[in-house]
């Protein structure tokens, strides 16, 4: 066994886990601040300067909560469901290049855990398995709110998986590879080579689907606070609920990375400026998630189904057909 490879991999994974768990915490802080400013409030202010230590306070609270397993739940599955959400979110990260490769102490580092050549399919597959977190959690909870949320979650996730699958097909026809590294290199020529300009329909469809797959606001029916309490998470408390939360926010970051790399040129030619540009794009996508939450109401489940199957899906199919013709002639 290649020891150097093993050490390198373990370091990468530890860095990814630490960075994105921390980012998930900061994500909640940013979300509260951004929402507050948009609603002309101040947001968290009391704990630490500008409320920055709120994250630490929340973390301590989550870790030291009393362990409650409500009556009538299926205990084993109740405990495993949050693990599935968190684990699949971070496993999806394996195929994402977070930065261009750089050299440190004369050792070349590729900031991607495994350059699998089915990269984007692997990410989609892991997100598909991530569905079982909410699904099993809701089913095991013995609470009718959780159960309604579960049924909705599955309907939403699977419908939008069709849309996102069809949407990324058109860019893949142009690139001819599933690896996110190749997709990035295809757009290395600068801003005019971005796939977002040659495939605007695919870009917008995938963006919409990203909102559904992370369960963010216009499609937040899964845990619609005013009718379903906290949806599948109603019966969860403490660190188990925290795992759902980390999974959700990590997913938001990872899907932002995928969008930035697939459609907005990623890190470009791999220079330092390109690396910062990638982080900027990801920050923009993350901010857009929060912005939408402040600006938009939720849609109804039937509207959402109508939108997927009767508007977005035909659009995606037509987009694939047109791309095929354009590439041929």
């Amino acid at each position: 066994m290649d020891t150097a490879l093993l050490v390198e991999t373990v370091i990468k994974i530890v860095v990814i886990l630490l960075v994105f768990s921390a980012l998930a915490g900061f994500g909640t802080y940013f979300e509260r601040k951004v929402l507050a400013f948009m609603q002309r409030r101040l947001g968290p202010m009391n704990v630490g300067p500008y409320g920055l230590l709120q994250i630490a306070a929340d973390g301590i609270k989550l870790f030291t909560k009393e362990d409650i397993i409500p009556a009538g739940v299926v205990p084993l599955i109740f405990k495993i469901a949050p693990v599935i959400t968190a684990a699949t979110a971070f496993m999806a990260a394996a195929a994402i290049p977070f930065l261009p490769s750089f050299t440190i102490f004369g050792y070349e580092v590729h900031p991607i855990v495994a350059d699998i050549n089915i990269g984007i399919l692997y990410v989609m597959g892991m997100m598909a398995v991530g569905l079982y977190g909410p699904l099993l959690g809701g089913l095991a909870s013995n609470n009718k709110y959780s159960l309604i949320s579960t049924a909705r979650a599955v309907a939403v996730f699977i419908s939008y998986e069709v849309v996102s699958g069809l949407a990324i097909l058109a860019p893949l026809m142009m690139v001819g590879s599933l690896s996110l590294l190749d997709i990035n290199d295809y757009q290395a020529g600068g801003i005019t080579h971005w796939i977002a300009f040659s495939q605007p329909v695919a870009f917008i469809l995938f963006w919409i689907a990203a909102f559904a797959e992370t369960g963010r606001t216009p499609f937040h029916l899964i845990a619609n606070d005013h009718e379903l309490i906290d949806g599948f998470g109603t019966e969860y408390s403490g660190m188990r609920w925290g795992l759902f939360f980390i999974g959700e926010y990590a997913n938001m970051f990872f899907i932002s990375f995928v969008m930035a790399i697939m459609f907005l040129g990623g890190y470009g030619d791999g220079s330092v400026a390109g690396a910062f540009a990638l982080l900027g794009k990801v920050a923009f996508f993350f901010f857009f998630f929060l912005w939408t939450r402040a600006a938009w109401p939720d849609v109804r489940p039937d509207q959402l189904m109508w939108l997927t199957w009767k508007v977005l899906m035909p659009l995606a199919v037509i987009n694939v057909v047109i791309t095929g013709f354009v590439l041929m002639f």
């Binding site: 290649d2 490879l5 093993l6 991999t9 373990v10 994974i13 530890v14 886990l17 989550l62 870790f63 909560k65 009393e66 362990d67 409650i68 409500p70 009556a71 693990v83 968190a86 684990a87 971070f90 496993m91 990260a93 394996a94 855990v113 495994a114 699998i116 909870s141 013995n142 609470n143 009718k144 709110y145 159960l147 049924a151 599955v154 309907a155 699977i158 419908s159 069709v162 699958g165 097909l169 893949l172 026809m173 001819g176 590879s177 599933l178 309490i229 403490g238 660190m239 188990r240 795992l243 039937d302 189904m305 109508w306 199957w309 009767k310 694939v320 057909v321 013709f325 590439l327 041929m328």
Partner: protein, 120 residues
């Protein structure tokens, strides 16, 4: 097969599953669970025990969406190898796929006509 490619996947799978499981140990950090009956009651906005258990029958539409999804998912997965080979296959490949998509488009129109996706 090259170790370089699946070793990282093995490591990330093990770590990402093991660490969340370790989080479950956080129950020893806080207060001991009192395990009283009131506390373990299922949450129903303050009213206690209106339902003995929560399992209810659901609208068959959910099932229909799931089954339609399975079929379209199979279709999309078949389109991935085609999309990667588009340039080599040329016009013939394009026509092949349009026949395939045409048949499934017909299926989609059939679903619309039957009102299987009407949710009202």
């Amino acid at each position: 097969m090259n170790e370089q490619f699946y070793l990282p996947l093995v490591v990330i799978t093990i770590t990402t599953i093991a660490i969340p499981f370790l989080f479950h140990l956080s129950k020893y950090l806080g207060e001991k669970s009192m395990n009283t009956n009131n506390q373990n009651e299922v949450y129903e906005s303050g009213i206690q025990n209106t339902h003995k258990d929560s399992f209810e029958r659901f609208n068959v539409k959910y099932y229909l969406v799931a089954i339609i999804f399975v079929l379209f998912d199979v279709e999309i997965l078949f389109m991935f190898p085609w999309a990667l080979n588009l340039r080599e296959l040329g016009l013939f490949g394009l026509i092949e796929m349009f026949v395939f998509m045409g048949l499934l488009g017909a299926g989609l129109i059939y679903i619309y006509k039957k009102g299987a996706l009407k949710w009202t």
